[in-house]
């Protein structure tokens, strides 16, 4: 199977097609939910861009100068300013030194009318991989100075209708743009239902506690989160004799005076006079306060440059934002957007869009306006790229993607870990168990060069792999007695486990789930629907089905759009309803025993639109042209779309989930929150893994294998002098985490040699396998065993209860003090103290005790012995100490 995503197109309701530029980006058109896909491709192919032929800058500079000078020197060409002579944050002793190429952006402009302006930005790319904002160092040359001129600080001005080429020059480097000045005098038309309502929502005007309350607030009522634009329009423009708008003098409208607190307002000051929102509302009033206007609309925004590797803390970048309008013109929106930054310990950004590098790492700058978003990636280097970057070997495509990023960001990952560290880590990560003493000794003694790969293959074939990863999928599917009748739980878990063990294609598995019906004890896949339903009232909560399906299989959170249009993405509440309509026929009834729930499709029933009260034909919001049958089991069409190799979300969301289990951080994090404003930390890596999954027929084990065999996974968690403070999402070392609840309890039982008794399962049952985890008890609950009432992640943080229970709790003490524990058995077989330490250390840490640890233990034993404490009790203390040590409690 091959991935053919270049042609994939997705459409967000009513906003036109958005090409999905997965591997061959056209970032110009990127926007909305999918915009980030293109952006990061561009970023990661930076090194290719730099090396591209055709950048030889063949045009002699003299020619350009001649052309510029013969035209109209005072406006067309300007001298390089003298900024370079003054050391400052952007100090560049010689902006042309080491320069490989420059890029002038935006590359294409259609200015609406003479007088319109557009800020330009020029980015210089240097041979050391860094880039710089060189806008102020360039000379700008217009081919037709009577059409457009450019000032020395890079502001282009339209003068007369016509066409022109503009070039920026820096030393030998040159970059150009095409500009056209239209003669149509147009202005952006501001739309009530989109532009104004998004402001009301963003500023919390229409929340239930303000004007969104059932009865409104102070006589002014808005629909909750703007679900009813027509009523809101009527309320604002017409109700109460139109007192809220003043078309004669728009800025005297109550609609503006209230939120700016120019007149008393119970809700306080919500807008400043300088805000972009104020401008938008004022603009709408000036345009006549119409509900629908037929003027041009903003169809997308783009930010330039789309990526930037900043060298040196304090370095700045000025962003330029270009709006694209429905009439084909462009508009400078640099000053009209809201700027935000993902991680402000890397970059800080002012409301005007001036960014400053403040810390090493990588983040994204996001802009939004008129419901549109665009994202630029920023890397910050605190020191010049090292000339002697250490050679790193790549085991596979995972490493290639990581090494490219590390080099670019001047990051040096930790060393490859020891066999001991790898052994313990890979057992815990793949099968959720510690290696036994025998397994450890066998592996450590093995001298084969490929023994790590061999161990990975062996572990992935063990039943425990399927059992352990069933607990992870069990979190997603919310396998729990509250949600799924207990007698049926075991069947559902077996269904998941069999899929994992046999490595059946994931697309098939998901199709089977999404199209399941029938008695769920006969068709366990149908258990999927149970947690989203009320089994007391026999009601299926279609909204919960929709949010669960989109989150689990697409990695998209639609909870926001359940109630209101998404504030950050181009998703609407109607999109949510369209998707919900796929499940409109799903019904449940009790089987002949209460635990036998039966799911069936009622062909006569339909999902009813909550507002219009009309039956709704299902439609895929991300791809409205995708064919959906007129009647019958709609879910089949949805399943076909979701699991298609052309769907950019499906494969990416599952590989991201798997990655996150191994690295404790997703490439997209939170792992099930894919959106433009939450871009992946390494796009090429995510794409590579998704492609690997698809190329392997959607089987998951090859993805596990690729990750586990990578040098990236096999690096030590121990930091080197350079990467101690690196962002964990850059994976320069293995991220330490506390063992998951089940793995912790099983490890405890294994190391102490005392099996755990669950009151519902036979003795010796491992925590991962307990049939009724609901009764699993205090230990599992404090270590984060989830209640699975919701789709929340397991807690990852340590707690006081954990610390107390590990030290003094009965779960631990019963094992440590047992007469049948590992100490008792070793004493019985006549082992020496040192042999006992060795055994316990190997069992708990998968390594031998160091000399220092031997000494510490021996001293303790001697000291306690001299106080008359029994030998068994002293050695139990050693066991207690080991299982309370951090090295035992974490995977590292």
């Amino acid at each position: 199977m091959t991935l053919n995503l270049r042609t994939a197109k997705m459409t967000v309701a009513g906003r036109g097609d958005i090409p999905v530029p997965l591997f061959n980006a056209d970032p110009e058109s990127a926007g909305g939910l999918l915009g980030n896909l293109g952006i990061a491709v561009r970023i990661l192919s930076l090194s290719c861009l730099i090396g591209l032929p055709g950048q030889a800058l063949a045009l002699p500079s003299a020619a350009a100068e001649t052309r510029g000078e013969t035209a109209k020197p005072e406006t067309a060409a300007t001298d390089v300013p003298q900024a370079a002579s003054e050391p400052g944050p952007n100090f560049l002793p010689d902006p042309a030194a080491g320069l490989k190429r420059i890029v002038l952006e935006p590359a294409e402009l259609v200015l609406a009318h003479p007088g319109a302006t557009q800020r330009l930005v020029v980015t210089g790319y240097y041979s050391d991989g860094t880039s710089h904002d060189v806008s102020l160092f360039c000379r700008y040359v217009s081919s037709a100075p009577q059409v457009v001129s450019v000032s020395s600080d890079g502001v282009l001005r339209a003068l007369t209708p016509g066409r022109a080429e503009v070039e920026a020059w820096l030393g030998e480097a040159r970059s150009g743009l095409q500009a056209r000045v239209s003669d149509q005098i147009t202005e952006v038309s501001i739309n009530f239902s989109q532009d104004l309502l998004s402001i009301f929502t963003q500023r919390s005007c229409n929340t239930p506690t303000c004007h969104g309350a059932i009865t409104g607030q102070a006589g002014f009522k808005l629909s909750l989160f703007g679900y009813d634009p027509e009523a809101d329009f009527q309320m604002i423009v017409e109700a109460d004799e139109g007192r809220r708008v003043d078309l004669e003098d728009p800025e005297k409208s109550l609609l503006l005076m209230k939120p700016t607190f120019s007149v008393p307002h119970g809700g306080g000051k919500r807008l400043t006079l300088e805000s972009a929102e104020y401008e938008t509302i004022a603009g709408w009033l000036k345009q006549g306060a119409r509900y629908n206007s037929d003027g041009p609309r903003v169809t997308g925004i783009a930010i330039y440059p789309r990526e930037r590797i900043m060298l040196g803390l304090g370095t700045t970048q000025r962003w330029v934002v270009l709006g694209r309008l429905s009439d084909g013109t462009t508009r400078d929106m640099t000053g009209e957007v809201k700027y935000q930054v993902g991680n402000d310990s890397v970059v800080q950004v002012t409301p005007e869009g001036e960014s400053k590098a403040v810390g090493r790492g990588q983040t994204h700058v996001m802009v939004r306006a008129m419901g549109r978003v665009a994202v630029a990636r920023v890397g910050v280097l605190d020191e010049p790229p090292m000339a002697d970057y250490p050679p790193l070997s790549a085991h596979n495509f995972v490493d290639e993607a990581m090494i490219r990023q590390w080099k670019e960001l001047n990051l040096v990952p930790s060393e490859i870990c020891s066999d001991e560290e790898f052994l313990r880590r890979v057992y815990l990560d793949v099968i959720g168990l510690l290696p036994t003493v025998e397994e450890s000794e066998r592996f450590l003694a093995d001298t084969r060069a490929d023994k790590r790969a061999a161990l990975i293959d062996e572990l992935l074939e063990r039943d425990e792999y399927a059992i352990y990863w069933t607990t992870k999928l069990g979190d997603s599917f919310r396998v729990h007695q509250t949600n799924i009748p207990s007698r049926a739980q075991g069947l559902f878990k077996r269904f998941i486990r069999t899929f994992l063990r046999d490595d059946r294609p994931y697309d098939e598995f998901v199709q089977e789930i999404l199209t399941s019906t029938g008695d769920q004890t006969r068709n366990p896949a149908a258990m999927f629907w149970s947690p989203m339903s009320n089994t007391v009232l026999d009601i299926t909560n279609v909204n919960q089905v929709t949010t669960t399906v989109s989150r689990l299989f697409l990695g998209i959170r639609m909870e926001c759009v359940e109630c209101h249009n998404h504030p950050l993405e181009n998703l609407t509440q109607d999109d949510f309803f369209d998707l919900s309509a796929f499940f409109g026929q799903l019904r449940q009834k009790r089987g002949y025993e209460t635990y036998r729930r039966v799911w069936w499709l009622d062909p006569k029933s339909h999902f009813v639109h909550p507002r219009t009260k009309k039956p709704l034909q299902p439609r895929i919001p991300f791809e409205p042209d995708f064919p959906v049958r007129a009647n019958g089991d709609y879910r089949k069409d949805l399943a076909a779309w979701i699991t298609s190799p052309e769907n950019p979300f499906f494969a990416r969301s599952i590989v991201n989930r798997i990655w996150r289990e191994y690295f404790n951080q997703g490439i997209v994090e939170p792992y099930d929150d894919f959106r433009t404003t939450n871009p992946p930390s390494n796009e090429a890596l995510l794409d590579g893994l998704a492609r690997h999954l698809i190329d392997n027929g959607f089987r998951l084990k090859p993805v596990h294998r690729a990750i586990l065999n990578s040098a990236t996974y096999q690096r030590t968690s121990s930091p080197n002098p350079l990467n101690k403070l690196d962002d964990p999402r850059l994976f320069t070392r293995y991220n330490i985490r506390i063992l998951p609840a089940e793995a912790m309890l099983d490890a405890l039982s294994q190391v102490t040699g005392v099996e755990h008794s669950f009151n519902v399962s036979p003795k010796g049952t491992r925590a991962q396998e307990v049939i009724y985890p609901d009764y699993a008890g205090y230990f599992l609950s404090i270590f984060g065993y989830p209640e699975r009432l919701s789709l929340e992640e397991r807690p990852k943080e340590p707690t006081l209860s954990q610390a107390l229970h590990m030290r003094f709790g009965d779960t631990v003490m019963d094992k440590v003090q047992s007469d049948e524990n590992v100490v008792a058995k070793l004493l019985e077989s006549g082992k020496s103290d040192h042999e006992i330490y060795d055994h316990v250390f190997m069992s708990a840490y998968s390594r031998r005790a160091t000399d220092r640890e031997w000494d510490l233990a021996s001293n303790y034993v001697a000291s306690m012995g001299s106080q008359g404490v029994e030998r068994k009790q002293i050695l139990d203390d050693i066991l207690w100490t080991v299982i309370n040590s951090q090295e035992f409690l974490v995977n590292h």
Binding site: S204, T207, P208, T209, Q340, V341, D344, S345, M366, T482, M532, N543, T547, R551, R557, E559, P567, L568, P670, D673, T677, N678, S717, P719, R729, N735, I736, R737, Y778, G784, L789, S790, E792, P795, E797, P798, T799, L800, S801, A803, L804, R807, F808, G809, M813, Q817, T850, E853, L856, Y860, S863, M864, Q867, D877, I878, T881, S885, Q886, L889, V890
Partner: protein
């Protein structure tokens, strides 16, 4: 470092301490979090909270809202008795409560729409309806988050143990309650705060030193915020176990026999006494989960079994708090996840009934001698002044000096502590 997309969905009105609190989940050190909390918490240090949760769903008709004039199938087995406030009657199951109505208020017109124990409990304890993607934190966890701890004790304790619904949800398990165990057991000692039998303090100390030595070696090669936070909890665990104050706080046997008798030698009686003792020692919120109210069969003995000991404990608590001058600074809540069917079923029981139920509130400025709202003659629905679960939550948080409008960042969006409710001002009339 901040949780990655946090900044995006923040409301501009969000205050810094929420940010710090949430950031801690992503990486701020616990120490700075605790410092922050103790600074911010100091403003409201004087207020505490005790929650008595009647798990299973108490029957409103058999307790706070008797219907003596209704037909027998509704009226039930229990007579109505006068309270200290003329004109107000309770069921004969609550004589001690009836005598002290001047000290607290009852809302008879509560309503909900959730009839499943787990989610209904979670709704009432958190004040927010169950969501698909997030578990909203319980009142106690929010208070623990906002107030932090004092006197080295855990801020939030569940007695005898946590219910499925009393947890911290999206705030993270750091804010889960500490569980006390059952103080009505003979030789009760608090869970996990005691050294194993026969171990001397010296040995325990030597053992801890050995552990520190092992950890030091590991810490030389590893570095992670997680390990730092584990260290802090280890230290705290060590402090708690060796702290006489903590042991004293949980040592219910130091209470006088007379007082222990007054509360009653029952799980709820001693549990409520322990709650008071803990509040007095520095715990900020104690929730007593009292089960057994789910009387689908044989309602009469079932109701007697739970409400009689509850009544005794509640009466003793009101007296005790008042005697110690703690009632003004302690909000006492008596909650239940829903009511029970006003009409007795064919197994002489009552089933789940979320459409109407009663709650009681005392202390922290709540007016005594008050009944807010009423139900219809059959008790099936609120009649006057319906009060929603959200209204109650907003009222409780405001009473405790916490702005319910404060937002947490969870699940990729801002989530208010309590939303969609209106303050029940009658409680302060």
């Amino acid at each position: 470092m901040r949780i990655y997309p946090a900044e995006l969905s923040c409301s501009p009105s969000r205050r810094d301490f929420i940010r710090i609190g949430m950031a801690s989940l992503g990486g701020l050190s616990l120490a700075s979090l605790l410092r922050q909390q103790s600074v911010l918490g100091s403003k409201k240090r004087d207020l505490n909270c005790i929650v008595l949760f009647q798990a299973g769903g108490n029957s409103q008709v058999d307790t706070w809202d008797p219907k003596p004039d209704a037909e027998a199938e509704i009226r039930g087995y229990f007579k109505a008795i006068p309270t200290v406030i003329p004109g107000i009657h309770f069921s004969e199951l609550l004589p001690e409560s009836a005598k002290r109505l001047d000290k607290y208020a009852v809302i008879r017109s509560m309503y909900s729409d959730d009839a499943v124990h787990e989610s209904a409990q979670q709704y009432v304890i958190s004040g927010t309806k169950r969501r698909n993607d997030l578990v909203h934190p319980a009142l106690g966890s929010v208070l623990a988050h906002e107030w932090g701890s004092s006197a080295g004790l855990p801020p939030y304790v569940a007695i005898p143990k946590n219910s499925r619904s009393g947890g911290a949800g999206f705030l993270g398990s750091v804010y889960d309650p500490f569980q006390s165990g059952n103080p009505n057991q003979k030789d009760y000692s608090v869970k996990d705060l005691t050294l194993p039998l026969g171990m001397k303090l010296d040995q325990a100390r030597a053992r801890s030193e050995l552990l520190n030595a092992l950890d030091n070696r590991f810490r030389k090669v590893e570095s992670s915020g997680l390990l730092d936070r584990m260290d802090q909890f280890s230290q705290k665990a060590h402090d708690l176990v060796s702290s006489p104050a903590a042991k004293k706080a949980f040592n219910i046997s130091e209470e006088s026999e007379k007082l222990r008798d007054a509360y009653g030698h029952t799980t709820v009686g001693q549990g409520v006494l322990l709650a008071r003792r803990l509040i007095e020692s520095g715990v900020r919120v104690a929730t007593v989960f009292h089960g057994g109210y789910d009387t689908h069969f044989d309602n009469k003995p079932g109701m007697e079994k739970v409400n009689i000991p509850f009544d005794q404990a509640f009466g003793a608590l009101l007296d005790d708090l008042e005697n110690r001058g703690l009632l003004e600074t302690t909000l006492v809540l008596v909650l239940s996840e829903f009511g029970r069917t006003p009409r007795i079923n064919n197994q002489a029981g009552r089933d789940h009934w979320p459409r109407s139920f009663s709650v009681a509130l005392a202390g922290a400025g709540i007016s005594g001698g008050l009944v807010v709202g009423s139900t219809t003659p059959t008790g099936s629905d609120p009649h006057e002044r319906p009060v929603s679960v959200e209204d109650l939550a907003v009222t409780v948080y405001r009473t405790l000096g916490i702005d319910p409008e404060h937002e947490f960042h969870a699940g990729g969006r801002p989530v208010k502590i309590a939303a969609d409710g209106n303050f029940v001002h009658e409680l302060f009339s």
